[in-house]
């Protein structure tokens, strides 16, 4: 049962890396934020996966159920999701400001404009 | 009798208080200079109170405070440091007198800054002299480097800044890169950094490591100007003459050689080092520096540069003397610190006076100047004689002791070096004296000086000049007289120096 046993984690890893790639390789500032979100959501998937107990149910106490999935990762991820959204909101606000100041949201273009500032 | 717990911090604090007062009186030059002279005078008086107890065998020590756990900032009085402190504090008086004439005669700017940092430098030099352990020594050594920087860069011109940068660069580099490492090494090996008679390293370090450690110390103390780390001295020639006097005679280079001697005597211990063959290279390096610097001096036309290379060569005498590792030569080393101080300060004062009075900076311009400035050039001659090491000057005394030690230990390399360099000394000093007194004054006007020296203002017409301002002449006469007087009264300092080796 080795292979299916780890399959979930692998999916999470692949997704993480897709997000990570978007963050570091893409030049568009909004898309970077999207990448960041994908990256984070994948980490959440990873957390939830480890909380799952085979045959368990959602951790809501009820008569007659013996096996529950682990509630702690759920709690952590609830927090993390909110933190992630906060970060996203802030990042997007920054993007709006950058757009105001530089009239572009492409990284290479802001870099060029910054170099001009430097030369002044 | 005042207690040591008072005197030792006091000789450190006095010039510092002086510096503050000088700064405060910056608006009134006369008051400012009075403060300078008063501070210098009382400092010397205070230091002399230490002579008797030290001669009586007391080695007072005062712990200021604990800086790092187990490592205190502490002061003590011992013969070698006392000789240095006496020399430095006495020459500060003379230099102050001279500076007043020079700085005013030369219309220097930023005079207050000059006097303030001069006083701080003296503080640092005294601190080096009475440091009770390596850490304290290092602290004041670095303070000395930093506080002399504004003095060297005094003019603020590009050339001055370049010179000062080299000055700071070399001194900082060597001290942080080598000296600092050496101190920590010593600390790790022995668990202490206290200067202890007989040394602390015996039995703790052995074999080639001793040579390496000695190298770290000898080169780390860049102020001793051991080749190849001597470049800062000529570079610092851009400074005003009183600063050169400070560097060459009063504080800086003396602090360097003093530290080297102190490390050899109190950290390594003469006997220990004599038994370790890996330390033997120092004689060679010192000898090489003596000869090479003399040869370079021979080719310099700029008077101050010639004096600078002469200093480099003379400093290595002290190191050579210590490296011979004979008790008698160590006494010679201590003596030579004082002897060279008096001789060299006279020469620099003379060079500065010539410049103030006639705006001449090159040796080749000095023909016949002795007739216009008899006192100055007379003093110059006396200083030169002391440098060469002829009686009746104190230079003879110290050289005699060093030779004595070299013979006693059969160190023929050292002996050869001393003989050769004496000839070279004569070769680069005597022509100056000869030209000044016996060559006719040149009639043609000189063009701009070829050296491009800042201080040569390119006066195209020889103007009629006499002696430089009275304070300057007074100062250089005193120091010239000092070299002679010390020859006849050498017993007193010698007695002090002999305590060093317990002899």
């Amino acid at each position: 049962m080795e292979f299916p046993g780890l399959f979930n984690y692998w999916v999470a890893v692949v997704l993480m890396m897709a997000g990570f790639y978007i963050v570091i390789a893409q030049g568009n500032l909004i898309k970077k934020v999207v990448g960041l979100n994908i990256f984070q959501v994948s980490v959440f998937v990873f957390y939830i996966s480890m909380g799952k107990v085979k045959g368990g149910t959602a951790p809501i106490l009820d008569e007659g159920i013996q096996l529950y999935s682990n509630p702690l990762p759920h709690v952590l991820i609830l927090t993390a999701i909110v933190v992630g959204v906060a970060t996203t909101a802030l990042a997007l606000a920054l993007v709006v400001r950058i757009r105001d100041a530089f009239e572009t949201i492409e990284e290479d273009e802001t870099d060029a404009l910054e170099a001009e500032d430097e030369a002044r | 009798m005042i207690g040591f717990e008072f005197v030792l911090p006091a000789i450190l604090g006095l010039p510092l208080v002086g510096a503050v007062l000088i700064f405060y009186f910056g608006f009134a030059p006369n008051a400012r200079e009075t403060v300078t002279l008063l501070t210098a005078g009382s400092l010397f008086a205070l230091v002399t109170t230490l002579i008797d107890p030290v001669m009586a065998g007391e080695r007072p020590e005062v712990v200021l405070f604990e800086m790092l756990p187990g490592l205190a900032l502490a002061l003590h009085a011992e013969p070698l440091g006392l000789i240095f402190a006496l020399t430095a504090s006495f020459l500060w008086i003379v230099t102050s007198v001279y500076s007043i004439g020079y700085m005013r005669g030369h219309h220097e700017k930023n005079q207050t800054r000059f006097y303030v940092f001069f006083a701080i430098s003296i503080t640092a030099a005294i601190g080096v002299a009475v440091a009770a352990n390596l850490l304290t020594l290092f602290v004041f050594y670095e303070v000395l480097t930093l506080s002399t920087f504004p003095l060297v860069a005094h003019h603020g011109s590009d050339k001055a800044k370049r010179g000062a940068r080299v000055y700071l660069g070399i001194l900082m580099t060597t001290s942080i890169l080598f000296l600092f490492v050496a101190i920590i090494w010593t600390y790790l090996a022995t668990g202490t950094t206290d200067f202890t008679p007989g040394g602390i390293l015996a039995g703790k370090v052995s074999g080639p490591a001793v040579g390496v450690l000695l190298a770290l110390f000898a080169f780390g103390i860049g102020k001793a100007a051991l080749m190849p780390f001597h470049r800062w001295l000529p570079a610092a020639m851009v400074a005003p003459t009183p600063v050169s006097a400070l560097l060459h005679a009063v504080a800086v280079v003396k602090a360097g050689v003093f530290s080297v001697v102190k490390v050899i005597v109190y950290i390594f211990g003469i006997d220990f080092l004599a038994g370790e063959p890996s330390g033997g290279w120092l004689v060679w390096v010192a000898g090489f520096t003596i000869v090479a610097a003399s040869l370079v001096a021979l080719r310099q036309d700029n008077l101050k540069r010639r004096l600078a290379y002469s200093t480099i060569s003379q400093l290595s005498y002290v190191i050579l003397a210590a490296a011979i590792l004979a008790p008698i030569s160590v006494v010679g080393a201590a003596m030579h610190i004082a002897a060279h101080a008096f001789g060299k300060i006279t020469l620099f004062f003379a060079a500065g006076s010539i410049m103030v009075a006639s705006h001449k900076t090159e040796v080749s311009q000095l023909d016949g100047i002795g007739r216009r400035m008899p006192w100055t050039m007379g003093a110059f001659a006396v200083g030169a004689v002391s440098m060469i090491g002829l009686p009746p000057t104190v230079g003879f005394v110290s050289k005699w002791l060093i030779v004595d030690g070299a013979v006693a230990t059969g160190n023929w390399v050292a002996l050869g070096v001393i003989v050769l360099s004496t000839l070279l000394n004569a070769a680069y000093f005597l022509p100056v004296v000869h030209a000044a007194f016996f060559k006719p004054e040149e009639a043609l006007p000189h063009g701009d000086s070829h050296s491009g020296d800042e201080e040569a203002h390119g006066h195209s017409v020889i103007h009629d000049h006499g002696e430089s301002p009275l304070p300057s002449v007074l100062a250089l006469t005193i120091t010239a007289a000092g070299t002679v007087i010390l020859f006849f009264t050498a017993d007193a300092p010698l007695a002090l120096a002999r305590l060093l080796t317990g002899g």
Binding site: V13, F20, I24, I38, M50, P59, T79, I81 | -
Partner: protein, 191 residues
């Protein structure tokens, strides 16, 4: 899910990107339900798919909606990503198998939560108990994060207008988020 993720890398129209991201979030939420994390699924659906998408669309309205040019394929980035990914896969090799009830994760702290929270805290939903009580402090921190972000957005975008109502810290986080959105909506209408 992976398809949507890789689609995101290629697509240049940022509107499509935002929508696709919403889809991505929803799929993730579905996954959570499958893995018994109903609370998380709700939040993800509401926050990830809902609010984030709205935020992105809002931003797009303020900026440009088409990504301009792609630089050359970034090999360095690819290398970094591959190394990191390989490291992670390597790390998973020693992990307990998925769903294994005997994994240490389920044996230590979690036991107590499940076993005693009903008695110690009250609510049958263990997640709620842990969130509100055992790790209540994390939740306070989370609220602070939201507050920080809200004030941050306000500083960055509120152009000199201090018009926003005060919220009390004991309010539910959901309300806060709503407030934030109101704020943003307000800004959008102004523009």
């Amino acid at each position: 899910m992976a398809v949507t993720a890789f689609g995101l890398i290629r697509i240049r129209n940022l509107f499509a990107v935002a929508m696709l991201f919403g889809v991505f979030s929803l799929v993730a939420a579905l996954l959570y339900v499958i893995m018994d994390a109903v609370d998380v699924a709700f939040t993800e659906a509401a926050v990830g798919a809902g609010i984030t998408t709205v935020l992105m669309l809002g931003t797009l309205a303020l900026t440009s909606s088409v990504e301009k040019t792609h630089g050359p394929r970034n090999l360095l980035a690819m290398a970094v990503v591959l190394v990191t990914g390989a490291g992670l896969i390597y790390g998973t090799l020693d992990m307990p198998a998925y769903g294994d009830p005997d994994a240490p994760i389920h044996r230590h702290v979690a036991d107590r939560y499940i076993g005693k929270s009903g008695a110690e805290v009250g609510p049958p939903n263990v997640v709620t108990s842990v969130l509100a009580s055992y790790r209540g402090y994390d939740t306070l921190g989370e609220v602070t994060v939201i507050f920080t972000a809200a004030v941050g957005v306000l500083i960055l975008l509120g152009r000199g207008r201090g018009r926003h109502t005060r919220r009390r810290p004991e309010d539910e986080p959901e309300l806060w988020r709503g407030d934030e959105r109101r704020l943003r909506d307000h800004r959008e209408t102004e523009l």
